[in-house]
């Protein structure tokens, strides 16, 4: 944007391997720019928590309605894989924090390394998640017929006569072999929550790769590291949500 009569504020680069940062034209100072973006991003994180809030509310509600289903359902999940994934994400939060710190102190190589380690953590997490989903599908625990799978409902049809409907209601049995009430609902909530979380992991990893591109070009340094900071915050939020998902889905009886 061109503007007559006044000059943009430029933050100089700390060294030849870095590029200076020009403060956006409508801000008077770098601090104003930094604080505005920070405030905006925290508000965005609040919307993310509220978005998941709906899912958590659904979880608690149905846990309350069908406690036995949720008890047995939780036992079907592999808590060891869940624990490994929790550790991976916690570690990746640490590497992300180190990456942000390195960017703030203009250490280009270290920033690249820690960002790469964080992306690696994301990949490990998603691979483990893939095998968990695969096992559940093979055991017939995921019964989610697609709307086009020979399934036409107009509200009047007798859903009980549809073949898949029986499958849905026989997803899990209790210790005596009797079908558990609405067993598939537990897995519906499990898949919805973890899949939306997984999508966030993938988006987060993409953002970190984008950060690495900027780091390679020398755009982030002690004078200007705002995007690194923000992506770091995003990654910690992704981690934080999993910290709640893991005990609720895998461990709570």
């Amino acid at each position: 944007m061109s503007h007559d009569g006044h000059h943009s504020v430029v933050i100089p680069a700390p060294g030849p391997e870095f590029v200076p940062h020009t403060v956006a034209h409508h801000f008077d100072t770098p601090v104003q720019e930094f604080q505005s973006a920070k405030l905006g991003f925290w508000l965005f994180l609040a919307t993310e928590i509220l978005l998941f809030g709906g899912l958590f509310a659904a979880y608690f509600y149905y846990h309350d309605l069908y406690p036995e289903t949720f008890r047995v359902g939780g036992q079907q999940l592999d808590w060891k894989l869940g624990a490994v994934n929790t550790s991976v994400l916690l570690l990746s939060s640490w590497t992300m924090a180190m990456g942000v710190r390195s960017a703030q102190t203009s250490q280009k190589q270290k920033t690249m390394l820690f960002c790469a380690l964080t992306v690696l953590g994301a990949v490990i997490f998603m691979v483990i998640k893939f095998f968990e989903y695969k096992a559940k599908t093979e055991h017939g625990l995921f019964v989610f017929p697609h709307m086009f799978d020979n399934y036409q409902v107009d509200g009047s049809s007798n859903a009980g006569s549809l073949a898949w409907f029986t499958d849905v209601h026989n997803v899990m049995v209790d210790e005596t072999g009797a079908p558990l009430l609405h067993g598939h609902l537990f897995f519906a909530i499990y898949v919805t929550m973890t899949a939306i979380h997984g999508l966030h992991v993938i988006i987060g990893a993409g953002l970190i790769l984008w950060i690495m591109k900027g780091v390679a070009k020398g755009r982030f340094h002690a004078g200007y590291y705002l995007p690194v900071d923000l992506v770091g915050l995003y990654w910690h939020l992704v981690d934080l949500i999993w910290i709640f998902l893991f005990p609720l889905l895998y461990l709570v009886p």
Partner: protein
């Protein structure tokens, strides 16, 4: 009426005009890719304006159909689609985004003495999310329409064989458009106020947009996840809202109203903000109870999160919860009444200019008193059990949505039109249109209170003959209302081509938006203005600027 200069002279004058945001660059991409809050505001104005006209057309079709007890135009299924289109277009594409998106974008940074909103790229993104939402809504019509009502209640929205997933995704995008606008306004208000512009020197339109923004950011994500879950439900039968699979449709209603009740205030708070500005400027008097109006916006924002259950008095919830929801609903009336009384007290003994923005404002004050009080009636638990899902409810929320919010939007549009475009519309036609709209509106919706209290249910394609006089009167009113709106659109658009030049400070405002050149230059102010006086201090008014044509 003054005569216009010959065309050649006007063009010459145009080329001599100082550069402003409208003429500083041209071409498609200078608009489509702009980061300027004023141009984005204009694009929102065009977009939401078209959505309003489409929604209004659907409303006229509904009213024409109901001329006769057995319906004149549609089959029952078609009728369901038409009223759903009316509701969805009006709520999601017009009422929620219109005032913040157009007037808010245009005026908020000017009022704060800022060069732009804090996050201009995000601002453009919210506009394009709105566009994508509108495209998906149009696509949903092509793909078979949707007939769930704008509320998308489960389980019907899970079973109906219509394009619910498409419109659901559209609403998801529109939700994030609204979230990003709100987020932007919060940050702008916190970080980009001019030196000396303390919180209690901010114009009340800014306070209202700020309170609105809090709601946009904190309530809309819940709608986002709700429509996503409906989409998953339809695509994969996850069962969360499907009673046959163990899900609870009432949970959908809780989620939906947890957003959609605060959404009512997302819609109405900006309208309150406009009225606060206008009663002061056009009475040339400082606002009565400035701080009370500012805080009442925040109070409404907070209480609005606690009353969603009053939409569900007949849906099955605990009796004690209903007591609480009913009681808390009465509480909203207190800050709302504080506003209404403060506006009236501001006008009292003011130097009132009965121009068209003020006429719309007065119409608002009358209509909103009715819309607000009937809301208190409906909030009473036992009365609501009788009136639930009748035309009484329809009339009540149209007195708020159309009669109050749309009229406040029109008032603000007339008020800031000379600021935005540097031209004045024809005042005589504007006054005629305002009176026509006021009369047409009341003729449309007053009969609906009466037939609703007699038991006419909402959303029915046919009715018993006893209700025909009311329905016919309502249809006549809708036609009057529609012609008033058509007249308004005509002279506003015409003013862009043949309108007189506006004055530098058309109405004699003293907030910062009137201290920039008209229309404002690209970055609004040559230097960030310093604010040294209290807000609405008309002793500082430079009367010469109200007599000086622009250019």
């Amino acid at each position: 009426m003054t005569t216009h200069a010959p065309i050649l002279d006007t063009q010459k004058a145009k080329s001599e005009q100082p550069k402003n945001y409208l003429n500083c660059s041209s071409g498609f991409w200078s608009w489509a890719g702009t980061l300027d809050h004023k141009r984005i505001g204009i694009m929102y104005l065009i977009g939401t304006g078209l959505a309003f006209l489409a929604g209004g057309l659907f409303a006229l079709l509904v009213r024409l159909h109901l001329w006769e007890p057995n319906g004149m135009l549609f089959t029952n299924d078609q009728y369901n689609e038409i009223f759903t289109l009316h509701g969805a277009f009006m709520v999601f594409l017009f009422v929620i985004p219109a005032i913040p998106g157009s007037l808010g974008n245009m005026i908020l940074p000017l009022m704060l003495g800022a060069k732009d909103v804090a996050l201009p790229r995000l601002n453009l993104l919210s506009f394009y999310l709105w566009v994508m939402g509108a495209v998906l809504a149009a696509l949903a019509i092509v793909l078979g329409g949707f007939d769930t009502g704008w509320t998308f209640y489960a389980p019907y929205s899970l079973y109906t064989n219509k394009a619910v997933v498409t419109i659901g995704l559209g609403i998801f995008l529109l939700g994030f458009s609204s979230i990003f606008t709100g987020l932007n306004f919060i940050v702008t208000t916190h970080k980009l106020r001019a030196p000396g512009l303390t919180w209690f020197r901010m114009p009340l339109f800014v306070w209202a947009l700020y309170a609105t923004a809090l709601l946009q950011v904190l309530a809309t994500p819940v709608l986002g996840i709700t429509v996503l879950l409906v989409a998953f439900e339809r695509l994969y039968h996850i069962g969360i809202f499907d009673p046959r699979l163990g899900g609870d449709p009432v949970l959908f209603e809780h989620f939906f109203w947890f957003y959609s009740h605060p959404a009512v205030y997302i819609m109405v708070l900006p309208a309150f903000g406009i009225i606060s500005e206008l009663v002061s400027v056009h009475s040339r008097k400082p606002l009565f109870g400035y701080k009370l109006i500012a805080f009442s916006s925040l109070a409404i924002a907070i209480i609005s999160f606690l009353v969603w259950g009053h939409h569900m008095f007949t849906s099955g919830q605990s009796t004690y919860a209903m007591f609480a929801f009913s009681f808390l609903t009465f509480f909203v009336a207190i800050p709302t009444a504080i506003k209404e009384f403060s506006w009236v007290a501001t006008i009292w003994k003011g130097s009132i200019a009965l121009n068209s923005p003020m006429l719309y404002t007065l119409a608002f004050l009358i209509i909103f008193a009715i819309g607000g009080l009937t809301g208190v009636i409906l909030g009473a638990l036992n009365v609501d059990l009788h009136l639930h899902d009748t035309y009484f409810v329809v009339a009540h929320f149209h007195y708020v949505m159309m009669g109050s919010i749309a009229l406040a939007f029109f008032a603000g549009l007339h008020h800031w039109w000379p600021k935005m475009f540097g031209v004045m519309y024809n005042e005589t036609l504007a006054k005629i249109a305002c009176v026509t709209i006021f009369v047409g509106f009341n003729v449309t919706f007053l009969p609906q209170f009466e037939m609703g209290s007699q038991g006419m249910p909402r959303r029915y394609a046919t009715y018993v003959p006893e209700f025909q006089p009311y329905h016919s009167a309502s249809t006549v009113g809708a036609i009057i209302l529609g012609s008033g709106v058509a007249l308004m659109v005509s002279y506003l658009v015409a003013s862009l081509f043949i309108g007189k030049k506006a004055m530098q400070n058309q109405w004699g405002g003293v907030t910062l938006d009137w201290l920039t050149p008209t229309p404002p230059p690209l970055e609004n102010f040559a230097h960030a203005p310093k604010v040294t006086t209290e807000v609405y201090d008309y002793s500082t008014l430079d009367l010469k600027s109200t007599q000086t044509p622009i250019g």
